[in-house]
């Protein structure tokens, strides 16, 4: 389980997060949603240790503040929003950066980058220069790198975690589904996935658990059917939204309503 206890983040004089208690289970995909400026990404950055915070983040019982960077790197991989890459590395060289710790020395390590590139639909791109890829291709190459870093969803009896900050932001719909399917597979094999998302329908399709943020606080968290209601979403996003259930599999579906 990955949990935060009473996380408060203040950047400059502005308080971004006000005592957030967040929880995600291994074996599940947990999505963090909310309007712009609601604190989703800041919560993710507190979890990954990128911003200073008050409170506590626990990764399967361990306080992340007390964990060595090398150990953290073996137990969780982070996909940030966007990263301009310095210097002309090839795609393969970028993906290989994900080989950390003992995994890098194992016999299986050599094959991992190519397998990951294949998973994200970039086989044949290994020799291309990373800087020359499109934004969406770069995002998928980084996703491959992150998959290499936590290539075993469970190792030494502990779940590995994928922390994804808007993993589908730059992707077309086909690749959005592909990335979320990989995330689901990772969770199905026992790993934990936390993703910051914008698309409520993609979230409803993918997430076992949803955390809805609003003005630096958790407005609601739980199963999508419980969090996604007309009233809650309308309050969070400040616009009229209609939640309904389409016939095939009974998942929820959010439809924006034109302003009256």
């Amino acid at each position: 389980m990955l949990s935060t206890e009473d996380i408060t983040v203040t950047l400059g004089r502005r308080q971004i997060l006000h005592g957030v208690d967040f929880r995600a289970e291994a074996g599940q995909v947990t999505c963090i949603v909310g309007p712009n400026g609601s604190g989703k990404t800041t919560l993710m950055r507190a979890i990954t240790g990128e911003v200073p915070f008050r409170g506590r983040v626990r990764l399967d019982g361990d306080d992340t503040a007390a964990m060595a960077p090398e150990m953290m790197a073996e137990r969780r991989a982070v996909l940030p929003q966007s990263m301009p890459m310095a210097f002309p590395f090839t795609v393969l060289e970028v993906v290989r950066l994900g080989l950390v710790g003992r995994a890098a020395l194992s016999a299986e390590a050599a094959a991992l980058p190519h397998r990951a590139l294949e998973q994200v639909g970039l086989s044949g791109y290994a020799g291309r220069l990373f800087q020359e890829l499109s934004g969406g291709e770069q995002q998928r190459a980084h996703f491959a790198r992150v998959l290499v870093q936590v290539w075993r969803p469970v190792a030494d009896g502990r779940p590995r975690w994928l922390l994804l900050d808007e993993p589908v932001a730059a992707l077309d719909i086909g690749h959005q589904l592909q990335v979320m399917r990989i995330a689901r597979d990772f969770a199905a094999q026992g790993g934990g996935v936390i993703a910051v998302m914008h698309d409520l329908n993609l979230t409803a399709m993918t997430a076992d658990r949803v955390c809805l943020m609003h003005e630096g606080r958790v407005l609601a968290q739980g199963r999508a059917e419980m969090v996604f209601t007309d009233a809650t979403l309308g309050h969070a996003y400040g616009c009229a939204l209609r939640v309904s259930t389409p016939p095939p599999d009974g998942g929820v579906f959010v439809l924006p309503q034109a302003a009256a």
Partner: protein, 357 residues
């Protein structure tokens, strides 16, 4: 067709490590060749081969030949190798640290700080009584240059660092300001200098290996070697840093510790190099750039290759400096600036997309 076993281990597409490993061997051979050539070039016509032949056949070796080879050319050769390696590796490390191919000890004010230290030692040392003045000239200049580069790197770090994080943009801009300040202070020192000192300063300011001696090398070499020895610990971290500081941290890199080590390494290498040979420009920016074009930016190969190519190019520049106006010689800084300046501009033009290569 018979399939050969080595095709099984052929490099995967996008994997340049084999090419880089071959390049390391080639560069090592090239450096050995240039070193041998460097021993034969000089104002006097002494041939090391003839001397070696005489020595092996038990013939007489004149004192003059022995002095020229062992006390003039050999320390000069070793100084050139170390200074070239130190400047090129420092450039590559700084560029990796700043994630910018234009970062260079000369640009962030590290060399300027070292120069100021050395110039202060020369001018203020002249105010001391004569017996101390010569001692100051021998011992204080390298020490002062090292203190200067270390102090400017430290100030740079303090200015550009907030809450344990370094801003690359602030660091580059602060470097420009520090360089200007050091330059102004150096100007004041030059204004205060007497005529003899002025000649020293001019020659030293343009950079030269002419003053190389065993005693200077003994003082500077350990510092440069210590700076270079940090490189293997930095390589993987600098690769990860190309993704950004946050991503490097997520890959398990202790980013702040790594940055401190990189800065110390650069200060030691550049301080000692400037002390022994003056300000020699452009090696730190041209060498890593050429190597990135040839075999890619992986620092595990870039750093050792920079050391080899930096050493070889500096020896070549030194040979040009020695023969082009023989029996006199040009300051080597002029040679590296003439060759490196256009390359620097070419890099800038490529960055701006004005030249299509």
């Amino acid at each position: 067709m018979v399939s050969l076993p080595f095709t099984l281990t052929q490099a995967a597409e996008g994997d340049r490590s084999r090419r880089a490993a071959r390049a390391v061997v080639l560069l090592a051979l090239a450096l050995a060749a240039v070193s041998a050539l460097s021993l034969t070039v000089g104002a006097s016509g002494v041939s090391p081969l003839a001397v070696l032949g005489d020595w092996l056949t038990g013939g007489e070796i004149s004192t003059r030949d022995r002095v020229i080879l062992l006390d003039i050319r050999l320390p000069r050769l070793l100084t050139g190798i170390l200074v070239g390696a130190a400047l090129a590796v420092s450039g590559a490390v700084l560029q990796g640290l700043f994630r910018n191919p234009l970062a260079d000890p000369g640009i962030v004010g590290v060399s300027a700080g070292a120069s100021l230290g050395a110039v202060m030692a020369i001018v203020l040392g002249g105010l001391l009584p004569a017996t101390y003045a010569s001692w100051a000239g021998m011992q204080m200049v390298p020490l002062a240059a090292f203190v200067g580069s270390w102090a400017s790197t430290l100030i740079l770090y303090r200015v550009a660092t907030r809450a344990g994080r370094t801003s690359v943009a602030t660091m580059l801009l602060a470097g420009i300001a520090l360089g200007a300040l050091s330059g102004a202070a150096t100007g004041v020192m030059v204004y205060l200098a007497d005529d003899t000192q002025l000649r020293d300063l001019t020659f030293w300011g343009m950079g030269s290996l002419a003053g190389a001696s065993w005693s200077k090398l003994a003082a500077a070499a350990p510092v440069m070697i210590a700076g270079l020895a940090a490189a293997p610990w930095l390589a993987r971290a600098l690769n990860a840093l190309a993704l950004g500081e946050a991503a490097a941290m997520h890959l398990g890199i202790r980013v702040q510790r790594m940055k401190s080590l990189a800065i110390l390494s650069v200060a030691a290498s550049v301080g000692a190099a400037v002390a022994i040979s003056g300000a020699i420009g452009f090696i730190g920016i041209v060498v890593p750039h050429l190597l990135r074009l040839a075999v890619g930016p992986d620092h595990r190969f870039l750093l050792p290759m920079s050391a080899l190519l930096g050493a070889a190019l500096l020896l070549l520049a030194d040979m040009v400096a020695r023969v082009i106006v023989a029996p006199a010689e040009l300051p080597i800084g002029i040679v590296t600036a003439l060759a490196g300046g256009p390359v620097f501009l070419w890099i800038l033009l490529r960055k701006r997309g004005l030249v299509d290569i």
